[in-house]
């Protein structure tokens, strides 16, 4: 469809406003070098208090027991696992944007990948908190790792949760490395622009003495390429494995082969939505419209539209298979989803994830900042509900009607979820303040002047 693809003859410029190499550095480094604006201080205070809330809830949880949550016998997983999958999902856009778009040589990624990667890391941290604290006895959670011990006991590698442990930690590590490697040249930039000794030293240490030598660039680019090549299957595997937590069980509504692809699509969906939300705010506040252009936003909205439609397709397919398989438990599970006690959650999910994103078919909406802001938030709400629907509705009515029970969260669960945003925002704001939120060197590299065969580019 012509709307979807750019006409190659008229490529939209990725950096606007007649920037030079120097001015790119200036523009991107400005937020880091100027003193924190009022809004930043204010929102950082809010973030910190939310973080405090999270810590309070976690201490209550550990102190009193998992019973402070609303979980009950059939529904042993609730907001805890929902929160985990929700955050992991959000954590996917970052690596996806950096890695996959990098491999596909999508130059437009450069001005948003740093941003998205940061988001990934912090989101995965939130997810990690959830997976670590959902257990009944956190203090023996170290049993989860295959450590030699005087009990001669070992872990069970057949359990999807064990796969999770490896997948999530690997994903976090690799994303962190990827992000940091990307940062090195920009840290060097900051170091060289630094005007105080402390900045010099700190940025200097983290820049590791980068000096832009071509031999360095050579290995550096290769390393970056390889990391991208590794992260791409990794990012897909991680959410597939997260989906195994459900798919590998035998619970009607969980035990489905469609889960891996559908979870990945959902993850990209929610991840991009979150990126859009954050970008809209950041570009406005830091006046970076010339880097995060409408073109970027529109492209992302297209991806949201695409993945949203995939997710919708998956919802439909689940129902079809449930009916087609002729498995009474399966079909009941899905009918119950749509018309059972949790129907409200199901229809919220459908409208948020399937209906609203369809508005992006219209170029006007796709390019309207307020519209996309609202929709991106709606999508995130919808994706949270997707996880809730999968977890709670499947559990609360399984094989034996005798064990059916309704689950509703307690204030602790709710506050903990709100608090997890505190963790996310705290780190994100720190990132905005102390690190270049746009990959300076990469942006320079895609500027026309960067091409050695480009003429009249040099201003000296």
């Amino acid at each position: 469809m012509s709307v979807m693809v750019d006409d190659p003859s008229v490529r939209t410029p990725l950096v606007l406003g007649g920037h030079t190499f120097a001015s790119v550095s200036d523009a991107v480094c400005a937020p880091v070098e100027q003193k924190a604006p009022k809004w930043w201080v204010a929102s950082f205070a809010v973030a910190l208090s939310l973080l405090a809330l999270l810590l309070a809830m976690l201490s209550k949880l550990v102190w009193t027991g998992v019973g402070v949550w609303g979980l009950n016998n059939p529904v042993m997983w609730g907001w805890d696992l929902v929160g985990f999958v929700f955050w992991v999902g959000i954590g996917h856009a970052g690596t996806l944007i950096s890695a996959i778009l990098f491999l596909f040589r999508q130059k437009w990624r450069t001005s948003i990948n740093r941003f998205a990667e940061a988001m990934t890391i912090f989101a995965v941290m939130c997810a990690g908190i959830y997976i670590a604290f959902h257990v009944g006895r956190v203090w023996v959670a170290y049993y989860l790792f295959p450590i030699p011990n005087s009990m001669a006991m070992w872990v069970n590698f057949r359990s999807p949760l064990m796969w999770d442990v490896f997948a999530v930690s690997t994903y976090f590590t690799i994303s962190l490395l990827f992000w940091y490697v990307g940062l090195i040249p920009d840290l060097a930039t900051l170091r060289d622009r630094a005007v105080t000794k402390t900045r010099k030293i700190w940025y200097g240490i983290f820049a590791m003495g980068w000096r832009g030598a071509n031999r360095h660039w050579q290995h550096y680019e290769r390393a970056y390429l390889i990391l991208a090549a590794l992260s791409t299957p990794l990012v897909l595997s991680v959410h597939s494995i997260v989906s195994f937590d459900f798919a590998v069980s035998q619970l009607p509504g969980w035990h489905t082969t469609i889960f891996p692809p559908y979870f990945v699509a959902g993850a990209i969906f929610s991840g991009f939505a979150m990126v859009v939300t954050l970008m809209i705010i950041a570009r406005k506040l830091f006046k970076l419209e010339s880097f995060m252009t409408m073109h970027h936003l529109e492209t992302m909205n297209k991806i949201i539209l695409a993945t949203g439609t995939m997710v919708g397709y998956a919802y439909a397919m689940e129902f079809f298979i449930a009916w087609y398989s002729g498995n009474p438990y399966e079909s009941f599970a899905f009918v119950n989803r749509a018309f059972g006690p949790y129907a409200w959650a199901y229809w919220t999910m459908i409208s948020c994830n399937v209906i609203f994103p369809q508005l992006f078919w219209f170029k006007k909406i796709r390019r309207s900042i307020p519209a996309m802001f609202v929709i991106s938030i709606i999508v995130n709400i919808g994706m949270w509900f997707e996880r809730f629907v999968i977890t709670a509705t499947s559990l609360h009515r399984d094989f034996l009607p005798s064990s059916w029970f309704y689950y509703s969260p307690t204030w602790v669960e709710v506050c903990q979820f709100i608090g997890s945003f505190g963790l996310f925002l705290t780190f994100f704001l720190l990132f905005l303040k102390y690190l270049p939120m746009i990959a300076i060197s990469e942006v320079k590299a895609i500027m026309p002047e960067a091409d050695p065969h480009h003429h009249g580019g040099d201003h000296v």
């Binding site: 011990n149 005007v195 105080t196």
Partner: protein, 221 residues
């Protein structure tokens, strides 16, 4: 040069370049060190073995067993029939000590306990976690000698823990009982050693079809 220039020209001294390698080596050493500390110092082999509390009455196993030749079962009467190898009752002590060394202060204590019925408070030496259910009778009857778990108690002036009693240690034997099985006659002979333990153990194992459980529920309920 203006101060700002000076600052902006701050350059790390040359020696800093050597730091990374130091950190690398130091970190590595630390890592190995920590592993060692846990592996060795935090293992029951080190934490449990050798625990030797002072008992209310300095009863000497060496004297009573090695020199006077008491059988373990004279005091630990139920060891063949019950899960617990009972600590002897005050009565048991008084069987002899109503005549022997009656005026020793310790014996007086025992006498007093018998009169008042207030038990003597011995300090527990061999302690398994409370979720472990060890059955003495089963092991004794299978041909596992006291010495396998308690060491040479017959030579101990004061009883101490001789073996780690950790789960891995238990499993060692449950997975290869032939290293400890011995004929019933020698179960209470702590000083007895078989010249060809393994081969003999194998024979006993076959003869009595001894298959120690390795299921969790063997010891945990």
């Amino acid at each position: 040069m203006s101060s700002e220039d000076k600052v902006s020209m701050y350059v790390f001294p040359k020696w800093v370049n050597r730091l990374p390698i130091y950190f690398l080596l130091g970190g590595g050493a630390l890592f190995v060190g920590i592993i060692f500390v846990f592996w060795y110092w935090f293992s029951p082999k080190h934490l449990e073995v050798g625990y030797m509390p002072t008992q209310p009455i300095p009863y000497s196993h060496r004297l009573h067993v090695s020199e006077l030749g008491l059988d373990c079962r004279y005091c630990h009467t139920n060891v063949e029939t019950a899960a617990h190898a009972n600590i002897p009752t005050t009565e048991t002590c008084m069987n002899c000590h109503s005549q022997i060394k009656v005026d020793s202060p310790h014996i007086k204590k025992i006498k007093q306990s018998l009169d008042t019925g207030v038990p003597i408070q011995w300090v527990k030496v061999h302690k398994l976690p409370d979720y472990v259910y060890f059955n003495h009778s089963r092991h004794i009857n299978a041909g596992i000698s006291c010495v396998s778990c308690h060491g040479r108690v017959d030579q101990m002036e004061v009883v101490h823990q001789a073996k780690p009693l950790s789960m891995s240690w238990c499993l060692e034997c449950h997975r290869a009982p032939e290293n400890h099985l011995r004929p019933a006659a020698y179960v209470f002979k702590l000083d007895w050693k078989s010249p060809n333990q393994k081969e003999m153990g194998m024979r006993i194992k076959e003869a009595h079809s001894i298959r120690p459980g390795e299921d969790c529920s063997t010891c945990h309920r």
